[in-house]
Amino acid sequence: MSKKNDPTKRPNGGVTRRGFLGSVGAGAVVAATGVARPGEAVPEITSPEEMVQVALMINGRIHRLLVEPRWTLLFVLRERLAITGTKAGCERGECGSCTVLVNGQPRYACMSLAVEAVGTEITTVEGLLDGEELGTVQKAFVEEDAFQCGYCTPGQIMAAEGLLRINPSPSFDEIRCGMSGNLCRCGAYPHIVNAVTTAAENKKGGQ
């Protein structure tokens, strides 16, 4: 999963639908390797009832827990760890509300299995805060009023954060492409563009 030059990855850090389907299988193997005890054979098939021990690095902290192999990263974040900033909107990879950073790249947490996330660095919207201080992108979202109901907002913020880490000076078109995997039914899109632009400037200014 963390291989470089992965052909399934888009330049902006997203993943193609086809690429995702391919990567699920590969990820399961990696994850299984990650939890196997020394000297034990890697099981090829895990039964749904069998709990698997995982260690997940979330916002710089390691969480060790037992998961069912079918649990998504989103489920574990919200229902097992009560890290609820990451929102559930569709749970089928369509709306982007659950976007988190996996190794710095935006990912739909509902489309990643928890076992697949072992060995990666996961960042949620809570992880952008420095103590109680908002991060640069978060501040820009408040200043530019880049949300209404705020439910898609954590996902929008993580998509923007991921975009800016890869491309610190995105053009208008690059912002539109980078953010188009995140739906906002309130339609705050024009203000979201403003917020991403402001955040890009402020990041460069060291804020």
Binding site: E68, R70, W71, F75, R78, E79, A82, I83, T84, G85, T86, K87, A88, G89, C90, E91, R92, G93, E94, C95, S97, T124, V125, E126, L129, L134, Q138, F141, V142, E143, D145, F147, Q148, C149, G150, Y151, C152, T153, P154, I157, F172, I175, R176, C177, M179, S180, G181, N182, L183, C184, R185, C186, G187, A188, Y189, P190, H191, I192, V193
Partner: protein
Amino acid sequence: MDKDSPYWIDGSVPETPGTGEYPDPWKKTEIVGTRVPKVDGYERVSGAAVYPHDVSLPEMLHGAILRCPHAHANVLKIDTSKAEKMPGVLAVLTGDSPGADMPWYSRGGQFSGRLFDTHCRHEGEEVVAVAAETPLQAVDAIRAIAVEYEILPFVIDDEAALDPSAPAVQEGGNMVGEPQVRERGDLAAGFAEADVVVERTYSTKCEIHAPMEPHGSVAKWDGNRLTIWDTTQGVYSVQQGMARAMELPLANVRVIGHYMGGGFGAKLEVGKYTVYAALMAKATGRPVKIFLPREDCMLVTGNRPGNKMTVKIGAKNDGTLTAIDYKSLGSNGAYTYNAGTGTLAAYLYTCPNVRTEDTTVYTNAGKARPMRAPGFPQGAWALEQAMDELAQKLNVDPVELRLQNILEELQAGGGRPLTSNQLSECLKKGAAEFGWTTARRKSQGDGHLRRGVGVAACFWGYAGGPPSTVVVKLFSDGSVNLNMGASDIGTGTKTWAAMIVAEELGVAVDQIQIEHADTATTQYATSSGGSKTVPSDSPAVRAAAYAVKVQLMRMAAEQLEVDVSDLELRDLTVSSRSDTEKTVEVTALEKLGRQGLVIGTGYRDPNPEDKVTFPFGAQFCEVQVNTRTGEVQLLQFLGAHDSGRVLNRLTYDNQVFGGIAMGVGLAMTEERVLDRQTGKMANANLHDYKIPTMKDVAIEHTCVPIDIPDNEFNTTGTKGLGEPATIPTAAAIANAVHDAIGIRVTDSPINPIQLVRLLAEQRKEA
């Protein structure tokens, strides 16, 4: 206007709860009207805000609902035996369970089925609910339930539903009452008088609200007290529905809805899932959470009906309208609502001879619910395209044609004056800012990329009013608690409320903490729908702050030994106008120090009698059509809205752009697809049901607020905005597409599939 009670009220409109001292209109404002970021922005961007979907309680169980997979069926037999034995399953609820056999109501308390109805009238009707230790155990359990259905013939086409031989969705046929007719003048005489007549049939597709937070609730019992966390636009509406369903006193039902992830009209009423959660929580003695999967939300939580509309307009050569004949057909799905769209055509323009007829039918599809300006965007799609065609036939600028027929009074009940109508300003200022005249003269282009511009106008048929009660509590250190019942559905309710208190008392916005949307601890407010939260509740906020101010002034008068009339309050300091020596900071008021706090209660003042109030608006857009691919790129959009006084310019802009985004969905991307062979929804997800993304909305957006206070309407001079902002959008796009390529697209959505076909037909004809 119409006799029906407004759609956000279940039953009659409550009266004003009390009277108070109402302040005069603001002359000059310092905070109101500026750009203030949302006061709860930190919570919403940090992940700290707890939405109902985030609520997790000790010992909480998770529910899931088994739904009928057929468009029309009778439930013959349910076998839950396997599910009951599954690990973690603690409750299985059917219509036979204790307390679960109850009638279910529709709009206005009309009987409309049962909590679990064995007659499933559309795909997605509820059959069994379960509660288990984990969400996945609940889903596993409903999959293990066997249901035997008698599959019935169905009808999903609105016109087919009118056929007497069509399957009956409800007893007594598929007509929902008689067609609703509005009539004035003499239609035949009006058309006889006309020099030019345009007539055409238009249609819009059914849209789903699709708020980003799915529908759902958490229910918890403490003895005979029930607490509900609900993603709702109106906590008091859910409280009433739950008290009725559970046969509890209103006071025993507490509904909390501090944050909620969007509603657009789909979250105005209590859901069956809330009752299931409460019943299963009662049965198990543990809290129960039920949130619907996205697919279920698409099926059962409401929609904007698709409509077929025929509009015929007559005008004299000088542009004066002489007659409008408007007919609309739509379906409210399988349960009672109202799919009418004729209000806009009946009242937007001055016209002596008008007839509108709205027919609503039952079909085997999910029930409609009010969706952002129910009926109006569809009506605008037809009327405002017809006006565009009329302007073309008369060879006049479509802006001029509209200006010529501006509404002077509401032409209903013999004529009722309006408190304000700035539609002319919307059209004139909007056109000026947009550069309309120049843009219209610009060439469409001669390559495969053609550009065009379009305009459409609107009014919105509600304006709000009583009741609303707000309490402002000022502490001796000058900080404030504000207590109001209204939900903040994303429109910035808390922010403008704080701004009003700040304006009135001189307290800094960040010194104001707000309690809201909790039936146990906050004051009564009607649901946040109808674009009426600002005009209904902002005068109550102001009245409450004013009540505090009056008390502070009296305290100061006593302390400074001057007459109250000589005093003024600025920046939390009371000073004498005549003697500048006499001044006291509020925090130094001795009586306030002794009392600890001052409480002010504010009520919404009644609306003026014999007058009506509507918000107005006009939108302009420029499009680029690719005649090879049928793709339409929105280049720019401008919204010029008359919503009375603007309270917060920042959130105001956001509302206008958001309304436009939703209108783009109606015009270009959204369509509920029901499979003709099975009656099932073919695109019950957010991948196949296309809500606009950032790439679908216009490249440039401009907001032109008219910002003229309507001081006759209420003490803040405000009217609504959220719904009007989406009414003219789709029609403006259709008009711009027509300007670009000469094709009148009568059926939504204007997508490449349709446009390529229409362009091919156009080439064939040429």
